[in-house]
């Protein structure tokens, strides 16, 4: 058993073999690594903010069946990604895995698709905070909540997240740890409140698995598939454990467990929470027709004041989720930029000497996320009858972007294995042995399926946005990066002396 210093030395040596210096502060333990993904999955964000979407399309059965079906397949995807994190432990994660398994160009596309998904997830999460916080604040400060006030609250939340991420990984890591406990405690409070204090009693258990009822104009089967966005969006962002791998001690074991356990625990806690919330519904059509179905259900079940307290607790959980998601996004951008994959890479790869965080990448994450929501806001100003919700648009963009980025390295690993490039000796400690291949294949089938489902009407706007972004990527690739992007392989040319010199600079700054 190694002590912490020996482990840190070994982790640094492993990172050096990829040609990278230990620039970020490696201080996260296993729980912190798990906590960041658990906080980003945040059952109190995804499952709650899209509760109305799930109920509208799939009825109450969406919470029993939809959540479980999605969780089953996501567990397999998480296991597939965990193996890769254990084998190639760098912050670039999906992008670096794809580049190592096939080549730099596919790595470059993976990185950008991942970045697009990350923009969607940060925007979606912080927009959810604003959707909940704005009406609550409107009640306190006596103003009317509108799309404009929601956008302003959204901007303020992003700004606060940017500042907290900028000033330090230690603060953010502590808040992430707190956030994981906070999520579990709030779910417990919610469940106990609904179990014992609901005004109208709970529905019989059959209600949770009631299928065939949709409040949309679509046939039930199709409506159910569209409703899966609720669960599928909730289960995103767990690649954060891999993006913070260079800040984690003993990363080849702890990061894969972080990915896998965050999904597993989210399934269990999410199922319990959704069960009690759904069983407390007595007016489902009123809920789907309200501005926010979750707020409606909780207010009906628990009454005004108690309901408001619960809603504030949920809003804070969403706030923590957004905080973690910017950490993950900025690390991914930092890793990609140190390989010169983005315009002005030099800036985004810069680490603040004072705080040892990728400060400029953090602020770019904030700006890009705001711009995505702003585009949607302007679109709706021009055409108020667009027929989709902002939150559904942002979440569909993130689901497709992230899951395509998850799928590419899983496919490339299968391909590299069949070509004899990736061998059993290349697996890390966290591996699945003979189960790996079937689990990878099932994961890929689900990813293809879910990406199609997420962009069919009424979410076609997400398909247009993603299509537009992809065209832009093609132009950038053929215009410049095809010839000039060297990928993570270029770092392998760095001498060990050069790497040590860089590490000494950072250690000198922090002495």
């Amino acid at each position: 058993m190694k002590n912490k210093n020996q482990q840190l030395l070994e982790d640094r040596k492993q990172l050096n073999r990829y040609g990278y210096a230990q620039e970020l502060l490696r201080d996260m333990g296993g729980f912190s690594n798990f906590a960041i993904s658990f906080s980003i999955i945040s059952i109190l964000t995804g499952a709650v903010s899209l509760y109305g979407h799930g109920l509208l399309y799939g009825g109450p059965g969406m919470m029993g069946f939809g959540w479980t079906i999605v969780a089953f397949f996501v567990l397999l995807i998480a296991a597939s990604l965990s193996e890769l994190a254990s084998a190639i432990p760098t912050a670039g994660a999906l992008y670096h895995w794809a580049a190592a398994l096939k080549g730099t160009r596919i790595g470059w596309y993976t990185a950008w698709i991942n970045l697009i998904g990350q923009i969607g997830i940060v925007a979606g999460i912080d927009y959810s905070v604003a959707l909940f916080a704005d009406p609550l604040l409107a009640g306190i400060f006596d103003y009317s909540s509108t799309d404009t006030t929601t956008l302003i609250v959204f901007g303020a939340v992003l700004l606060l997240h940017g500042i907290l991420n900028h000033v330090g990984i230690k603060i953010v890591a502590k808040l992430n740890d707190f956030s994981a406990w906070y999520h579990m405690i709030v779910v417990a409070i919610l469940v106990v409140s609904l179990a014992f204090f609901t005004k109208n009693g709970l529905q019989p258990i059959d209600y949770l698995f009631k299928v065939g009822q949709t409040f949309s104009d679509k046939p039930y089967f199709l409506a159910f598939l569209i409703g899966l966005l609720q669960a599928q969006w909730t289960f995103t962002g767990y690649d954060a454990s891999a993006h913070t791998i260079e800040e984690t001690v003993h990363p080849r074991v702890r990061a894969p467990w972080g990915i896998f356990n965050s999904v597993a625990f989210s399934f269990v806690f999410g199922f319990i929470m959704l069960s009690f919330v759904t069983l407390s519904i007595h007016d489902a059509s009123g809920a789907v027709n309200s501005d926010n179905a979750f707020i409606y259900v909780i207010s009906q079940a628990l009454g005004g004041t108690f309901g408001k307290v619960v809603l504030w607790l949920v809003t804070f959980a969403m706030f923590f989720c957004g905080l973690s998601s910017i950490t993950s996004f900025s690390r991914m951008m930092y890793a990609f930029s140190r390989d010169n994959g983005m315009p002005l890479s030099r800036h985004w790869a810069e680490i603040s000497r004072k705080y040892r965080t990728p400060a400029k990448a953090i602020w770019l994450s904030v700006i890009l996320s705001f711009v995505l929501a702003l585009i949607d806001y302007i679109t709706k100003l021009i055409n108020p009858d667009v027929g989709y919700s902002t939150i559904a648009f942002l979440t569909a963009v993130s689901v497709v972007g992230l899951y395509v980025a998850y799928g590419i390295p899983i496919y490339l690993k299968l391909r590299a294995e069949s070509k004899g490039i990736f061998l059993p000796k290349h697996y890390g400690p966290w591996s699945l042995g003979k189960w790996s291949k079937p689990i990878n294949i099932i994961s890929l089938i689900w990813i293809v399926f879910i990406c199609i489902i997420m962009v069919i009407p009424p979410n076609q706007m997400a398909a247009y946005a993603l299509g537009g972004m992809f065209i832009l990527l093609l132009i950038m690739d053929f215009g410049y990066y095809k010839k000039n992007f060297k990928g993570p392989q270029a770092a392998l040319e760095k001498s060990i002396d050069e790497i040590r010199r860089l590490e000494d600079e950072f250690e000198g700054e922090n002495d």
């Binding site: 069946f65 296991a79 949770l208 290349h426 890390g428 591996s431 689990i439 392998l492």
Partner: protein
């Protein structure tokens, strides 16, 4: 009927998660660094 299928699905998901976790844990414990190489996408320096 829906309840039975629903809870069967929940149990299946829990069983799948547990089985994967147990298998991965077994491999973590049996891992011998000397028999493995870091994959960098090309021959090590």
């Amino acid at each position: 009927m829906g309840v039975v299928i629903g809870f069967a699905l929940v149990l299946l998901t829990l069983a799948a998660g547990t089985a994967i976790g147990v298998r991965a844990n077994k491999n973590v414990r049996a891992f011998n660094d000397g028999e493995h190489e870091i994959f960098v996408g090309r021959d090590d320096k």
